[in-house]
């Protein structure tokens, strides 16, 4: 059927070593990706309260209908879900995703996703070549790094190292040929030893970094998944898809190479961008590199190999080292399969401990790491190796940052000051909930740091740079609010959705913004794969009157591929459904409203530095609506009010149709979403929200 789906989902039971199939049609209403993953987890996980290392944990690795197509900024992502190992006080049912070419090959192999159950008695890797699926011995791979593992698997699947010619897969002349290397997703060496830190890596640096999924893989005795597809995916309206592609290119430099100086705010979104390029040592020769089907190309490949496919946080933004040092660390981090974001939080914490005299040789936290040279190659290498091998402080760090702080007797103290910057659920502070409210709330009411920059780019970063340079903004705050309200269906009748003022961040409209964001990301970004580097596209210098592609572009691609006639509003409603299903899982896992609090520093410490007598505020310029007018204003130096956050939660729960006392969805809300079975299960567990 020409609808973008392959038609079947692979089901692998590692305990019984059986390979089965689930018809995709059974889950098609959920879109793909995260939607299908949550629904499958709901159906197949006997007990979501188990630890993530329990064989009962169900892992899904899902593509979607747009994977492997020309749906730009959507074709390349793969969504991973399961009970994670990273969050505290317990591992929530969580998600991560990664780019590259894995979901493309999965689709071309004839699969819309992979479901992994149980635990193998032997170390294995999963080998998928079209319809042929086998479990292979991974004993010789288990201690290898992610790069070596992938290259060994390439040679194994193709029978020899790839030679660049057509390889015939299978035994007949028509059984499928390819010039491509298998797409492999791998955990790091002996990842069970640093599970909460362990990521999954595909190619050079496409990482499912957060959540500890490398540790989950290892707990199942699964080292890697390899897929090579020689088939194809039929698309409902190929011509419409081609037109959509060229239409979207008009919103990027891809379609405006000759028109780059168009706007005062600079050229975005650029290919690979100088940001990635500047992470490499000067003089490195580079190319931009992009995931399958992309128009933006946010990574690089270099003539030194190190840092290939890596970008952004992979390059150790908080460590203060030079690019020459960073690129060595980045390469090692990817090879070891370590969560880059945990390292982002670790460096400031270690610097604080050093400044306090609390860590070092013979100190309270005894360590032989070269703390006197924290920006040297040796320090980063030794630190990462200590985590992977459980030596020196690595033994405690490998438990997870929260758990380590707890063991060292410093958890409460360092969370109170923010020296250990874990904003919520033990996840490293990314964007600041004190200033950019929808980010903090989205994390708090969910399962992890959201890592969704939809509002962050246009409402925080861009105005901050405009202000830092005294520029005339591309659009006024009022115009920005108008454009975005229109796009934020179904809340388009609200004019103040991006009011980040002191009052605005606790308001009912911020509750709507937060809810919109949860629903949009669950469906469009995580179920259909629209990438965070391209979408949402709210305000765009190349758009007509600076209006970006969001709310038009997403359905345009989806409908061209699937042949459906789905509206943006309908997609948002599916997102609300997925969000409610996830909420139900967390509730079964023990979530209550009183658990949903930020770390103390978010309430007690303003987002300012504390050097006495020397004022400083980290720049944070956002749109605000105050005294009847819109403006861009610095909202730095804010801290959250505990009671106001609690009141906000009540507003949010009410908006979402959840019991305001507990934060649990009500029967009516769930049944209106077609989730009666979910309501029944929650009721059976005594956790259904009261009407």
């Amino acid at each position: 059927m020409a609808n973008g789906y392959a038609g079947k989902i692979l089901k692998v039971d590692l305990t019984t070593k059986t390979i089965g199939e689930i018809p995709t049609s059974q889950y098609e209403q959920w879109g793909g990706g995260h939607g299908m993953g949550s629904a499958i987890f709901w159906d197949l996980c006997e007990d979501p309260t188990v630890d993530g290392t329990d064989p009962k944990n169900v892992v899904t690795i899902m593509a979607g209908p747009l994977s492997g197509t020309l749906a730009s900024g959507a074709a390349g992502r793969t969504e991973v879900q399961g009970i994670g190992l990273q969050s505290m006080p317990r591992g929530w049912f969580t998600r991560s995703n990664f780019g590259g070419r894995f979901s493309t090959h999965l689709k071309y192999a004839g699969w819309d996703g992979i479901v992994i159950l149980g635990k193998s008695d032997k170390q294995v890797w999963l080998n998928i070549v079209d319809g042929k699926v086998t479990l292979e011995d991974a004993t010789s791979l288990w201690g290898l790094d992610t790069h070596a593992t992938q290259q060994k698997i390439w040679a194994s699947v193709l029978g020899a190292p790839p030679a660049g010619n057509w390889d015939t897969l299978g035994t007949t002349r028509d059984s499928g040929r390819s010039t491509q290397r298998p797409a492999v997703l791998s955990a790091g060496p002996n990842a069970e030893k640093f599970g909460p830190w362990a990521s999954l890596v595909h190619d050079g640096g496409n990482g499912a970094g957060q959540g500890g999924f490398g540790g989950v893989f290892a707990s199942k005795n699964l080292k890697a998944v390899s897929v090579l597809g020689t088939g194809g995916i039929e698309v409902a309206d190929p011509n419409a898809l081609m037109q959509a592609r060229t239409w979207l290119m008009g919103y990027a430099v891809a379609g405006n190479w000759d028109n780059q100086g168009k706007n005062v705010a600079g050229n975005w979104p650029l290919p690979a961008n100088p940001g990635t390029a500047s992470s490499f040592p000067k003089g490195t020769a580079l190319r931009p590199q992009g995931c399958a089907g992309c128009v933006r190309m946010c990574r690089c490949r270099s003539d030194k190999i190190m840092g290939n496919d890596s970008m952004c946080v992979d390059f150790f933004t908080t460590a203060g080292a030079t690019p020459e040092v960073n690129v060595v660390w980045t390469d090692l981090m990817q090879k070891l399969g370590l969560n880059a974001f945990n390292l982002v939080g670790l460096f400031p914490w270690l610097r604080g401990l050093v400044a306090e005299g609390a860590i070092g040789k013979g100190k309270a936290i005894d360590s032989s790491l070269p703390f006197e040279q924290m920006t040297s190659v040796a320090f980063g290498v030794d630190l990462m190796n200590s985590i992977v091998n459980q030596t020196d402080i690595g033994k405690d760090l490998a438990l997870g940052l929260w758990q380590c702080a707890q063991k060292w007797g410093r958890l409460d103290k360092d969370l109170a000051t923010g020296m250990l910057p874990l904003q919520e659920w033990g996840y490293v502070h990314h964007y600041d909930g004190r200033t950019e409210a929808e980010w903090g709330y989205g994390c708090l009411l969910g399962d992890r740091d959201i890592n969704e920059h939809d509002f962050n780019w246009i409402c925080y970063w861009t105005p901050t740079i405009w202000a830092a340079y005294g520029m005339t903004p591309l659009v006024t705050a009022q115009r920005m609010a108008e454009i975005m309200s229109k796009q934020m269906i179904p809340y388009s009748d609200e004019p103040n959705l991006i009011d980040y003022s002191d009052a605005g961040i606790y308001s009912e409209t911020m509750a709507k913004t937060t809810a919109w964001h949860r629903h949009y990301t669950r469906y469009y970004k995580q179920a259909l794969g629209f990438c965070d580097w391209n979408w949402a596209d709210f305000v765009n210098p190349y758009g007509p009157d600076f209006v970006g592609a969001t709310s038009i572009g997403e359905p345009k691609f989806f409908n061209a591929v699937t042949g459906k006639n789905q509206t943006f509003a309908e997609g948002m409603e599916i997102g609300r459904k997925i969000w409610n299903l996830d909420r139900a899982v967390w509730i079964l896992q023990g979530r209550t409203r009183d658990m949903e609090v930020f770390s103390d520093y978010m309430y007690d410490v303003a987002a300012t530095a504390k050097t006495p007598g020397i004022p400083y505020e980290m720049p944070y310029t956002m749109p605000v609506f105050e005294n009847g007018a819109w403006s861009y204003k610095s909202v730095a130096g804010r801290k959250l009010d505990r009671q106001k956050v609690e009141d906000f939660k009540t507003l949010f729960f009410k908006l979402e149709g959840w019991d305001t006392k507990t934060g649990w969805p009500t029967r009516k809300t769930l049944e209106d979403l077609g989730l009666k079975n979910v309501a029944d299960k929650l009721q059976g567990a005594g956790k259904l929200g009261a009407a």
Binding site: S72, R177, V235, P274, K282, G283, M297
Partner: protein, 237 residues
């Protein structure tokens, strides 16, 4: 050029070159100039195997600009077959994340060879020069008997003529002359899907016969050494 053999009375206007010179790409520039001079004309080799007109168009690539997104492969298979399928794409991008730039990506597009081995070996004339579409070298699927001689004859790796195992015929780049799933005019006189979707402008189309033999005829600078590109920090050098 050496070895010009003027067999009286049998050649058309224009130059004659030996097959050996042609296939080995003697001197590169000179041969290209000779071929360029033959644009639109036919020529004979001394053995008079057959006479073919040069293609009216060629794809040029800049492998230093290619970002490996494979959108070209998706577009190619989509417009020709209505499905996205790497194995049906008539342009192949291969990449290795663990290799050093610029050797991490290869772009394999059909060269529309002036002396196409794939056309020469086809026993049924399925692989032929399409005079109705700018002399593009293409496969008439109805005539293809599946012998795969064209696939094996292509002097390049991977072979530019490829086997379609599902529909059981050979196929190759036709510069989008026949794209039933795309409402744009293709062929040498129209648009090519791969170049259209390439966000990096790493694929372009030309009517001029590229220098034959060496890669440099087809792998050209499409801006990878430009100030703009350098300004992005890519330091291609």
């Amino acid at each position: 050029m050496g070895d010009i053999d003027k067999t009286k009375g049998t050649e058309p206007e224009g130059k004659v070159v030996s097959r050996r010179e042609f296939v080995t790409g003697l001197g590169g520039v000179g041969l290209g100039a000779v071929i360029g001079g033959l644009l639109g004309q036919g020529f004979f080799t001394p053995d008079k195997v057959f006479a073919i007109p040069a293609s009216g168009g060629y794809l040029l690539v800049d492998t230093k600009k290619c970002a490996g997104c494979t959108s070209c492969m998706m577009a190619c298979s989509l417009v020709h077959h209505g499905q996205v399928n790497y194995s049906l794409s008539r342009i192949q991008i291969t990449q290795n994340s663990f290799a050093a730039f610029p050797n991490d990506i290869s772009m394999a597009m059909c060269r529309q060879c002036p002396f196409p081995a794939c056309v020469e070996v086809c026993p049924t004339g399925a692989c032929h020069v399409d005079t109705a579409n700018g002399n593009v070298r293409t496969v008439d699927e109805a005539k293809c008997i599946g012998c795969e001689r064209c696939v094996n004859a292509c002097p390049f790796t991977p072979s530019r003529a490829l086997w379609n195992g599902a529909d059981k015929h050979a196929q190759k780049c036709d510069l989008c002359a026949d794209t039933p799933f795309w409402n744009e005019k293709g062929g040498p006189g129209g648009k090519q899907a791969c170049a259209t979707v390439c966000a990096m402008k790493a694929i372009s189309f030309t009517k001029d016969v590229p220098v034959q033999g060496a890669d440099t005829g087809y792998n050209v600078d499409l801006g990878s050494t430009s100030k703009v590109w350098q300004g992005f920090g890519f330091n291609v050098g």
